[in-house]
Structures are given as structure tokens and as C-alpha cells.
């Protein structure tokens, strides 16, 4: 169905080709996963399938890409619209119209499909994706998962043979992501579509994949069955890490498979000891904290203590009140109740002083950046924090990402931008650091870097509170976990006791070794030696 023949792609002003003599084949009806770090060329592979690369992005393509017999050299993306459906990361950004029905019809209108046939196809597509009840809804009012399903429906209506999805779940919470991925696997199994899918959180989809394309970032790609390609790649989902620790040649693709292998081998790692509760002093204490928007109670009477030198994660569904709680703790959102951070109430402080006591990195970190260069942002941060000139730049270097000062912050990758914002916010050296969903859209490598950074911040004596949907990240980074639902804290305790005993929030290692309390592959490794 999809054939790359000796494809070399060079972007304008690039030193070396992003893809170098790449040949690959994806068969009809396959579910093919594309994996690789951010910036490795994953999106290039996806975009080349329908000709967005190079027609839309610019660049020079040598060799040939054929889809269903049509070459992208002769067909522009719009002329492949009836063969390849392309769905991007953030569905809301790709919507042209504003209601579900219009959006689904839009592609067909472009293809000049007869209005009678169009009407029928819209109905069929609505049913296929299970969104018939949403048909007249404004797109902005849908939840993230629904929006992504509408985006998929909108390209499916043109009846393509191939569906290309570029990280469709990166901005979704776990339930919505599950929802979308289930819809995609249904399309492969029941409709017979060929699907090419780039996905960061491999643990959810690798069991359904027929093949994996690994894009390491040096211009080459390797293609093959999931189990063997993952074993050799630098992309390490938890089960891959387990396979390495246990010395298995190929990666188990599901928890069930891993559990059986562990049981049949009979190797029992020693469960880690329960950690000693952190003894640092309480730097943030909130009592009966409530946030209200009109009639809605976003946060209801929350009691919370954060201790110096510890990392806590805040988990819960979308809309559970996590963000509101973080904004309230920073003092940027009006709230009722008592709040003391390092002996002061941030609500009573000026913005400049508040950020020296407690700092927050918001969900869309880029909102904080407005200057033309990294150096200018750092200098401004020093000024705002009253710190020695150069503090922010030094911090940025310490965080482990070297960024040339003259780079435009808007050209940075997601991970680099996060590091820059963290450096800016840490310049004020606050005793409490709050991070709102920092792991959104990050690949495994960047998440590991972030984990290192967070551990280092805690080591300097600060208290860190992170809201996240990423169970594996929480398992790796935090000492304590707080679970929120409906604006209330429903459970809190050590991460190990809380996550291993949970059904919804258990990390994969916990599921493999249940009832033993393992959280990460590192725990298993320690338990084996």
C-alpha cells in the first residue's frame, strides 16, 4: 500500500538529510507504528506519505514515495485526499468549520462529491465513529477525545485507503486517549484500513501493531515486527525496560505476556522496602482551600501539606480540579481558605514577590515566552527575579539542555521550551515549585530528562508538586501521590502504596508483578541484584 523507495529528504538550510536513502513497505490493512524521539524525523516520514513533505513544508525529496500506486511526486497532497487521510496532533487546530456535521462534510465538498452521496456518507461516518449524537455540537465544546474522533471521522468521510495519524493522543488524558486508540484499532480490524500511527505512549498500542518503523534520528529507519524492533531501539517503554533488565531478547508486547514470562521463569525480584517518610519541614500548607467559578466548585475544601525536598504528583481526571488547585496555590486565582507558603500568603504578595515564594509552570509553557531570543528571555528573568545577571542562563545549562543564546524560543522543541521556562521560573529560587502537566507531548527521552531535572530541584531543598496524567512518570519521579476527583482530594499517600494498590493508576510494572509493589524497571533491577 505504501512504498518508500530510496527516499532522501533534505529540508532547506539543513546540514544533512532528515531521511537518507530510506526504503520501506507497509502492507494493505496493516497497523504500523512510527516511533522515535521528538525531532527525529517521525513527522517527516508521516508527512511524506501524503506529500505534505515536501509540497507543503518545502525541502528536496529524491527517490519515490508511492501510495496505492500513486506517486507523491506527481500528486500534491490535495490530490491524494481520497487515498490518504491525515490527522494531526491537536484536532482543534485543524478544524475549518465549527460544527461536527459541517466538519465531516468539508473534505467531501472539496472533492466535489454529489450532495446526495455526501449526505449518505456523513450519516455512515457519524455511525462508524460513534458520534451521531454529537452531530450539531459546536466543535469547541467537545472533549478532547470527541474532538479527535471527529477529526478522524472528517478524513474518513472521503473514504481513504490509508489513515495517517501524527500523535493523535498527545494532548489527551488517559481515558480519552484509550477511547481514540480503541476507535483506531477498530478501523484496522473491522474496516480494513491501513493505519500509520505515530504515538509517544507506546505501552497502549504496541500489542495491536503489525509492524513498527523506528526513526532513530540519524537519517535511517528500521522496520519490522514490534517485538524485535523495540528490543533494539532507544525508545524504551516500560516493558522494553523490563525486557532489558530480565535479559529477554524480544520485548513482551502486553502486560499479560510479560506476566506469564515472569511466572514461567520463576525469577522473583526482591520487592523494594517502603521508603522512609520525608522529614523535611512543611513549606506549603493549605487548609480548607476552595475555588469557585460561579456555581461550579472547582476545588472543595482541600487540605494539603508539601515538605521541603520532596516531589509529589497530583493525579485525576480532566476537570477534577488539578489545574485550579495549582493556580490557587500560586496565589494567582482567588480562593477561600488558609494558605501559607514559607510563612507568607502568596495571595497577599505582588506578582514579583509571589514568584519568589512559589512558582508555577503552566500547561502551555510557551505562554510565558515573548522575547525574541533565549538570551533575552534569560536576562529578563534575572531582572524580574532580582537575581545576579546570568543566573537564569547558568540554571538553564545546569538543567542539562544547552541552548544557544541567539535561538528564537518559538523554534525550540517542546522539551527545550519546557527547560527554558523552568529555568526562567527557577531563577527566583522559590522554595515551592508547581508544574502543571509538564509531560504532555514529551517523548520517553525528554520525560527521563525532566525526571532528572525534577529530582535535582528537590535535592536543592525545594518542594515540587506536579500534576500529570502520566502514571509511569509519576511512578518514576515522585515520593507522594495525591489523587483528586470532583474538586476533592480522595486519597493521598506514598506513591508506591497508592499506585500499586490502584486499578486505574497502576503503572505497568505494578501490573506485571502484582501483588508485589514494583513501580519501575529500576526497582526490578535493584530487586534482582
Amino acid at each position: 500500500m505504501i512504498d518508500f523507495d530510496e527516499v532522501t529528504l533534505t529540508y532547506p538550510q539543513a546540514m544533512r538529510p532528515t531521511l537518507d536513502r530510506v526504503s520501506l513497505h507497509v502492507g494493505e490493512g496493516d497497523l504500523c507504528l512510527v516511533v522515535g524521539a521528538t525531532g527525529s524525523g517521525k513527522s517527516t516520514v508521516l508527512g511524506a506519505i501524503n506529500g505534505l513533505v515536501p509540497h507543503f513544508t518545502g525541502g528536496r525529496l529524491q527517490g519515490s514515495v508511492r501510495v496505492d500506486g500513486r506517486s507523491t511526486a506527481e500528486h500534491r497532497p490535495r490530490n491524494l485526499a481520497d487515498v490518504v487521510g491525515y490527522v494531526g496532533q491537536d484536532p482543534l487546530r485543524g478544524f475549518v468549520t465549527d460544527t461536527v456535521e459541517d466538519e465531516i462534510a468539508y473534505g467531501m465538498e472539496q472533492l466535489g462529491i454529489d450532495p446526495v452521496a455526501m449526505r449518505k456518507r456523513v450519516e455512515e461516518t457519524l455511525d462508524l465513529m460513534g458520534i451521531a449524537d454529537l452531530r450539531r455540537r459546536p466543535l469547541t465544546e467537545l472533549s478532547g477525545g470527541q474532538q479527535q474522533r471527529v477529526a478522524i471521522a472528517a478524513v474518513l468521510a472521503a473514504q481513504p485507503k490509508v489513515l495517517v495519524l501524527d500523535e493523535p493522543t498527545s494532548s489527551l488524558d488517559p481515558t480519552a486517549a484509550q477511547d481514540v486508540l480503541a476507535a483506531i484499532t477498530t478501523l484496522v480490524h473491522d474496516v480494513g484500513l491501513t493505519v500509520v500511527l505515530a504515538e509517544h505512549r507506546l505501552e497502549r498500542v504496541m500489542q495491536a501493531a503489525d509492524s513498527v518503523i523506528w526513526v532513530p534520528g540519524d537519517g535511517s529507519v528500521s522496520v519490522g515486527p514490534a517485538a524485535s524492533v523495540l528490543a533494539g531501539s532507544t525508545i524504551v517503554p516500560p516493558l522494553s525496560a523490563l525486557a532489558r533488565v530480565m535479559g529477554w531478547a524480544d520485548v513482551p508486547l502486553s502486560v499479560r505476556e510479560a506476566r506469564r514470562r515472569v511466572q514461567s521463569e520463576g525469577r522473583r525480584p526482591v520487592p523494594p522496602a517502603e521508603p522512609v517518610p520525608a522529614a523535611g519541614e512543611v513549606v506549603l500548607s493549605a487548609r480548607r482551600l476552595s475555588v469557585r467559578y460561579g456555581d461550579v466548585h472547582a476545588v472543595r475544601s482541600v487540605d494539603l501539606d508539601l515538605r521541603a525536598g520532596t516531589v509529589a504528583t497530583l493525579m485525576g481526571r480532566n476537570g477534577a480540579g488539578k489545574s485550579s488547585l495549582l493556580w490557587a496555590l500560586q496565589g494567582a486565582l482567588s480562593c477561600e481558605g488558609d494558605l501559607l507558603v514559607a510563612g507568607r500568603d502568596p495571595r497577599g504578595l505582588t506578582a514579583t514577590h509571589a514568584r519568589r515564594v512559589v512558582t508555577l509552570v503552566p500547561q502551555t509553557a510557551a505562554d510565558l515566552l515573548y522575547l525574541p531570543t533565549v538570551a533575552a528571555e534569560c536576562a529578563q528573568a534575572d531582572l524580574e527575579s532580582g537575581a545576579e545577571p546570568g543566573t537564569a542562563a547558568t540554571l538553564l545549562a545546569e538543567l542539562g539542555s544547552y541552548l544557544p543564546g541567539e535561538r528564537d524560543p518559538r523554534d525550540l522543541s517542546e522539551g527545550q521550551r519546557l527547560a527554558l521556562v523552568l529555568a526562567i521560573q527557577l531563577t527566583a529560587s522559590p522554595p515551592v515549585v508547581l508544574l502543571d502537566e509538564p509531560t504532555r507531548g514529551l517523548d520517553y527521552q525528554t520525560k527521563a530528562d525532566l525526571q532528572r531535572i525534577v529530582t535535582r530541584i528537590a535535592a536543592t531543598g525545594a518542594a515540587v508538586l506536579i500534576s500529570t496524567h502520566d502514571v509511569e512518570f509519576a511512578a518514576g519521579v515522585s515520593d507522594r501521590t495525591i489523587l483528586m476527583a470532583d474538586g476533592e482530594i480522595v486519597a493521598q499517600g506514598t506513591t508506591r502504596s497508592l499506585l500499586t494498590s490502584s486499578v486505574a493508576y497502576a503503572p505497568q510494572m505494578a501490573k506485571v508483578f502484582a501483588p508485589l509493589p514494583f513501580l519501575t524497571a529500576a526497582d526490578v533491577s535493584a530487586g534482582l541484584s
Binding site: P77, G88, Q89, D98, M118, R317, Q330, D367
Partner: protein, 381 residues
């Protein structure tokens, strides 16, 4: 914003409302009879009140009422201040203040007569009622559906408008988010610099958004069925529009009304034909195009007829539609005027009261999304 997309297709075609309103506006522009004007305004307002939906644009009629009131008051103010109209019935006299020569010898103040005031009121009332007719169309016609039925030649431009309408609410959310984020950085920027701190992140976000939107549109086949521009369409259009403008020019600068109207009509017809011709290069189809039925024809015809009656009667006898102010007389309603008013209210017979549409959101965090922390809720240091 939220209710816009949920309006079902069984509403009346938006152009029908516009035809009705333009016709009424034209009728209003041809008369100074305060009775007729008031009745036209009442007719328009009652049609709006009985036929409008709960959509956001339906509230615009209040704004237009206020605007009409403002027109009346400001006209009266200027008349009293610098009016030169003299009449036998002097109501009161203001102290006079002559201005220097360069000001064309204008004097402020002076005697204010009832005749001059009434003339101003009639004239301002005419303008106010025309404004109200425009307001009625704005309140009744669904702007998005009007966009769906633009000529094919304008397809690309209409896509840009559709994009703008869909993106605007998202950008407002983006502005609110960035303003909130300012506090986190210490909020040191003030005044115009603060504008930059908000404008730059929002704009660069908007531009990124436009690129991903363009990629999506391209991948979904946008512009795929565009052919090359049709030969000859442009000269036809440009020629005709020049003819139409000449017609308007003649209409305004000479008294050859009929000939001028004919030339103008010819030009408009030619341009429309040219646009149709130019639209042939496009083979885009439309999903659920709004049908034009007899309801629509009826509503449109009632407005157009009302305008025609006033135009024709006024053309045959220039004073028939005017109320003299010198000497002051009580305005009277002629049979033609009664017919006009009946036509103005006729759309009520062709249309039904709109059904309320249940609105609910399926985002479980919808309440928070819509009442996201706004400025007022931010703690100000």
C-alpha cells in the same frame, strides 16, 4: 458563540430576511411621514421579537435601538446649536456666538423654531428607522448560513471568513490564558510593553495555528477542484461594474432617473453574470445547501414590494410620502402607506416561531471551561 452551530436548517434562508429588511429600509428612506416611519419601525421590531432565535446575534436589535436613539438626540443637539432653519413659531432663543471668518461665518445659538425642530425630527426618524431595519436583518439572519450561499467565485474568500469566525473564540481563550500567565513571570511589563508581552505569544500561537490548519486543509483536498480562471470573466465583471457605477453617478448627478436606473441595473446584472462565469472554474459541492422555498420568496417579496410602493408613489408625486413642516401639519396615512405597513408585518404569516433547541455540552469540564478564571478573578497585587 456557543449557540451558533446548533441552529437547525429549518430556519428561514438568511438572504430572505435581508431582502425584506433592505426593502423596508428603502421604504423608510423614501418618506418623512412620522406616522409611517413609526409604524414601519414597530412592524420590524415585532417581527424580530416574534421570530428571533436565542442565538447571540439575535440580541443585536437592542444595540440598534440605542443607536437610533443616539442619532435622534445628536441631530436635535446640532439643530439647536448651529441650526439655521428659521420658522414663524420660535420656541426659544439661545444667546448667539458668531465664529471667526474662516469658519464660514457660522454662528452658534440663535432662535430655535418648531418648524426646524420638526424637520430635524422627521429626518432623524427616517435615519433611525433605516438603522432599525438593518438591525432587524442582523438579528434575524444567521450570518454563517448567509456565508454558505455566497457566489462560487468568492469561495476562497468565504473560507477565510469561516476560518476567522471559528478561530476568533479560540484566540480569546488564548489571550485570557496568556494574560493569566503574565502574573507567573512577575508581571513587570507595563503599558504598551505589556501589550507586547500578550500580543506576541498570542500572535505566534495564532500563526502556528494557521500553519497546521493549512496543512489539514491541503491534506483534505482544499483547492483540488479549482480550475484555471475562466477566460473573459474578468473583463466582463470589470466592464459591468464600471457601467453600474456610471449608472449610480448619473442617478446622483442628473435628474434622468429612469435612464440612470436602467444603466445601473444593466451593470449589476452584467457583474452578477460575470461572477457566475468566474465561479465556473470551481467544482466544489455544498453539503445541505439551504433550500429557497415559497416561505423565503414570500418574506423577500413583502419587503421588496413595500420598498417599491414607496418608491413608485414617491416618484409619481414627490410630496405624497412627505409630511410638510412649513406650515406644520398633522401627518396623515394614505392607503398606499397602509399597504406598506401591512407588507412590513407580512413575514409573520410566512414563518413560524422558532423552536428552542436544547443546549448541553458534553465536556465534563465544560462549566470550568466557559467560566475559566478571567481577569476579574485574578488577585491584583
Amino acid at each position: 458563540m456557543a449557540a451558533e452551530g446548533t441552529v437547525p436548517l429549518n430556519s428561514l434562508h438568511p438572504w430572505a430576511w435581508w431582502c425584506w429588511a433592505i426593502g423596508l429600509g428603502f421604504a423608510a428612506s423614501g418618506t418623512t411621514n412620522p406616522l409611517l416611519l413609526t409604524l414601519i419601525a414597530l412592524a420590524a421590531i415585532s417581527v424580530v421579537m416574534l421570530r428571533r432565535t436565542k442565538a447571540p446575534w439575535a440580541r443585536s436589535v437592542g444595540m440598534y435601538l440605542a443607536l437610533a436613539g443616539f442619532v435622534l438626540v445628536s441631530r436635535l443637539f446640532f439643530q439647536v446649536l448651529i441650526g439655521s432653519g428659521s420658522g414663524p413659531t420660535v420656541l426659544f432663543t439661545l444667546p448667539e456666538l458668531p465664529l471667526p471668518d474662516w469658519a464660514a461665518g457660522i454662528r452658534l445659538g440663535g432662535p430655535v423654531s418648531a418648524e426646524a425642530l420638526m424637520a430635524t425630527v422627521y429626518d432623524a426618524l427616517r435615519l433611525a428607522v433605516m438603522l432599525l431595519c438593518v438591525g432587524a436583518a442582523n438579528a434575524l439572519a444567521n450570518p454563517r448560513q448567509a456565508l454558505r450561499s455566497v457566489p462560487a467565485a468568492l469561495y476562497e474568500a468565504s473560507v477565510a471568513v469561516v476560518i476567522a469566525l471559528s478561530v476568533a473564540p479560540q484566540l480569546i481563550e488564548s489571550v485570557q490564558r496568556v494574560r493569566k500567565a503574565r502574573r507567573l513571570r512577575g508581571d513587570t511589563a507595563r503599558g504598551v510593553n505589556a501589550l507586547g508581552a500578550i500580543a506576541l505569544p498570542v500572535l505566534s500561537d495564532a500563526i502556528d495555528r494557521s500553519l497546521s490548519l493549512a496543512a489539514g486543509m491541503d491534506a483534505r483536498g482544499f483547492a483540488r477542484t479549482n480550475g484555471l480562471p475562466v477566460r473573459g470573466a474578468l473583463p466582463v465583471m470589470l466592464g459591468s461594474v464600471m457601467v453600474a457605477t456610471c449608472g449610480v453617478f448619473l442617478l446622483l448627478s442628473t435628474s434622468a432617473t429612469v435612464a440612470a436606473l436602467a444603466i445601473m441595473g444593466l451593470g449589476i446584472a452584467g457583474t452578477t453574470a460575470g461572477l457566475r462565469l468566474a465561479g465556473r472554474r470551481l467544482r466544489v459541492t455544498r453539503y445541505r445547501r439551504h433550500p429557497w422555498g415559497w416561505h423565503e420568496s414570500g418574506v423577500a417579496a413583502s419587503g421588496v414590494l413595500a420598498g417599491l410602493i414607496v418608491g413608485v408613489v414617491g416618484g409619481l408625486d414627490p410630496v405624497a410620502m412627505m409630511t410638510p413642516t412649513y406650515p406644520l401639519t398633522w401627518p396623515e396615512l394614505s392607503p398606499a402607506m397602509l399597504v406598506t405597513i401591512a407588507l412590513a408585518i407580512l413575514p409573520l404569516a410566512f414563518t413560524a416561531r422558532p423552536r428552542p433547541i436544547p443546549l448541553d455540552s458534553s465536556r465534563h469540564d465544560a462549566p470550568q471551561r466557559t467560566v475559566r478564571p478571567r481577569d476579574a478573578e485574578l488577585v491584583r497585587p
